[in-house]
């Protein structure tokens, strides 16, 4: 039997990092395979940004090891930097330079000559829909425009891994959606791996294929959303809007408000049985929907042990 191993983009094992006496990363371990859009989710102060800095070789871990494409960012940061592009939450561009000048500056740092730098800068500006703003100084950009330009900078050298730390923080929904579209498009066109750190779950769910939840420096769970839901036995619900004339105790329906009822879904057969029973007893069914737990529901349940989702179950 052939055993196929997925190529690892990022490998982290027993990583520990402490600042003064505070343990920020408490022996975390995970792997990101090539081509995944990996959501590293946690609240503020969970350790996400510290991990990003370690992946970039900006700070050293106290224990454990980390490899990016098999290379240690601690020992060989310059080799790692050639393969990764990073968008940090707080880092800013030079306000006195235009968007194009900023990108050309960073392009030349990557070793491009003037012509290559200009070509590539214009290309990535188009990728993030910032071409028309290229000659404006950054000081005149909105927050959304700055974020898109930062994303463009991340794509400059066509990295195979893109590390994004809170790319949609502070953005309106439309700008955040645009950022997500640009990230997804880049990942698809370049077969790149994306490592996304965020606490904005709605946007993470739009693009991520796999997740790890972190809180207080500890990994809470890892996996695809469907697997996490199965593993932790999260319930699906059936919501029915109906006029019910008879008592349907056997189905354990919970009345919500007006004509809306809810029941935990055991299997698909249950839906047709409930509808049939209501209709045969003289009632009317207006709508039926199945509500699967969202990333937010799963996240709050696991991270905070008692969020909105848990109240339903």
């Amino acid at each position: 039997m052939k055993y196929l191993q997925k190529e690892k983009s990022i490998e982290v094992k027993n990583l520990v990092k402490q600042f003064d006496r505070k343990v920020v990363l408490n022996g975390i371990s995970f792997e990101v395979n090539k081509g995944e859009i990996y959501g590293f989710l946690g609240p503020n102060g969970a350790g996400k940004t510290t991990l990003v800095k370690i992946l970039n070789g900006l700070i050293k871990p106290d224990e454990g090891y980390v490899e990016v494409f098999g290379i240690s960012p601690v020992k060989y940061p310059d080799k790692v930097h050639a393969k990764i592009g990073t968008l940090t939450e707080t880092a800013n561009m030079y306000k006195y330079l235009t968007g194009l000048e900023n990108l050309m500056f960073f392009s030349k740092i990557f070793g491009m000559n003037d012509m290559q730098a200009k070509e590539r800068s214009l290309e990535v500006l188009k990728m993030v829909d910032m071409y028309d703003e290229k000659d404006k100084k950054i000081e005149f950009y909105s927050t959304g425009m700055e974020k898109r330009l930062s994303l463009a900078r991340t794509f400059l050298h066509s990295p195979k891994i893109v590390i994004l730390d809170e790319p949609t923080t502070g953005l309106d929904p439309e700008s955040a959606k645009n950022i997500n579209v640009a990230i997804k498009r880049y990942a698809e066109e370049n077969e790149a791996t994306v490592f996304l750190c965020t606490h904005q779950l709605r946007y993470a769910q739009d693009i991520c294929t796999k997740y790890a939840f972190i809180n207080n420096g500890n990994i809470i769970c890892i996996g695809e959303l469907g697997d996490i839901i199965k593993k932790y036995k999260f319930d699906k619900f059936i919501y029915i809007e109906a006029e019910i004339n008879h008592n349907l105790e056997e189905f354990n329906l919970t009345k919500l408000n007006g004509n809306e009822y809810r029941v935990i879904m055991k299997d698909k057969e249950q839906v047709s049985k409930i509808v049939e029973r209501i209709v045969l007893s003289g009632g009317k069914v207006y709508s039926v929907r199945i509500l699967e737990p969202s990333l937010e529901d799963v996240y709050f349940k696991l991270i905070k042990r008692g969020g909105a989702y848990e109240q339903f179950s």
Partner: protein, 257 residues
């Protein structure tokens, strides 16, 4: 080398776009103009300000007095403005959070510091050179430039390297404090403390700040060049030392942003 060139260009653009070059050049050119003019016409100006019936008798000011005024203005007003204008060369990168973007690209940290040092030193050289050329133009008109050019150049070297020392102090404390205000305070403290220490003659000859007075004495012919060597060597030594330590500290710094 490529990284250094890219960073140098960026630094120059910053000085131009933020109008720092304009401010520094303007102040230094002004010093070049007002030093000889002020010396030459001070008596006449004061006479104008007196109420009628009063008279002040001034002896004719000399070219050496003009040099005294010039070096005083450069080392006080000029240096103060220069420190103010350049105080953020390192600390701004931390305060404005632009440093992460550079470092996460894998750029050599020593190159970052070198680029700032080189560009700021060149701008100081340029500004000072323009200032002294303007000054020499007027001293030529008023006094005929009787002071030998070699003496002027050597005195200028003393002033220039003291300015360069202040640049390395700026970079050093900017790297440590990551804060413009603190860096500014310490830069001034560095100069003031030396002036107090200058009270002690045994220490004074080795203090870099002594260069600021020695440059005048050289022009006056009161001291020989060899008497300026301890202060000059001390200036060069501390400049190099502070730069090396800055690069060392910056390399070890964990960027907490």
């Amino acid at each position: 080398m490529n990284e250094l060139c890219v960073l140098l260009k960026k630094e120059v653009k910053e000085y131009i776009r933020k109008h720092k070059i304009l401010i520094i050049l303007s102040v230094f050119i002004l010093i070049g103009i007002i030093s000889p003019l002020g010396t030459k016409y001070l008596g006449a100006i004061l006479q104008q300000l007196l109420p009628s019936g009063y008279e002040i008798k001034f002896r004719s000011p000399s070219e050496i007095e003009a040099y005294f005024q010039f070096f005083k203005n450069i080392s006080q007003l000029g240096l103060i403005i220069f420190i103010f204008a350049t105080v953020g060369i390192m600390s701004d990168e931390f305060e404005k959070k632009t440093i992460i973007n550079i470092l996460s690209k894998g750029i050599n940290r020593g190159t970052v510091i070198l680029s700032k040092f080189v560009v700021t030193s060149v701008i100081f050289l340029l500004s000072y050179t323009v200032s002294i050329m303007v000054f020499r133009y007027y001293t030529g008109i008023f006094w005929g430039n009787n002071i030998r050019i070699g003496v002027v150049i050597y005195s200028s070297i003393l002033i220039y390297f003291y300015g360069v020392l202040n640049i390395s102090v700026n970079i050093f404390f900017g790297t440590i404090f990551e804060n413009k205000i603190l860096t500014l305070v310490v830069c001034f403290a560095f100069n003031i403390i030396q002036m107090f220490l200058g009270i002690f003659p045994q220490i004074a000859r080795y203090l870099p700040v002594s260069s600021l007075s020695q440059c005048v004495y050289i022009v006056e012919g009161k001291i020989d060049i060899y008497e300026t060597i301890p202060a000059l060597l001390s200036t060069l030594f501390f400049t190099a030392l502070l730069l090396i330590i800055s690069i060392y500290l910056f390399n070890r710094k964990e960027i907490d942003q």
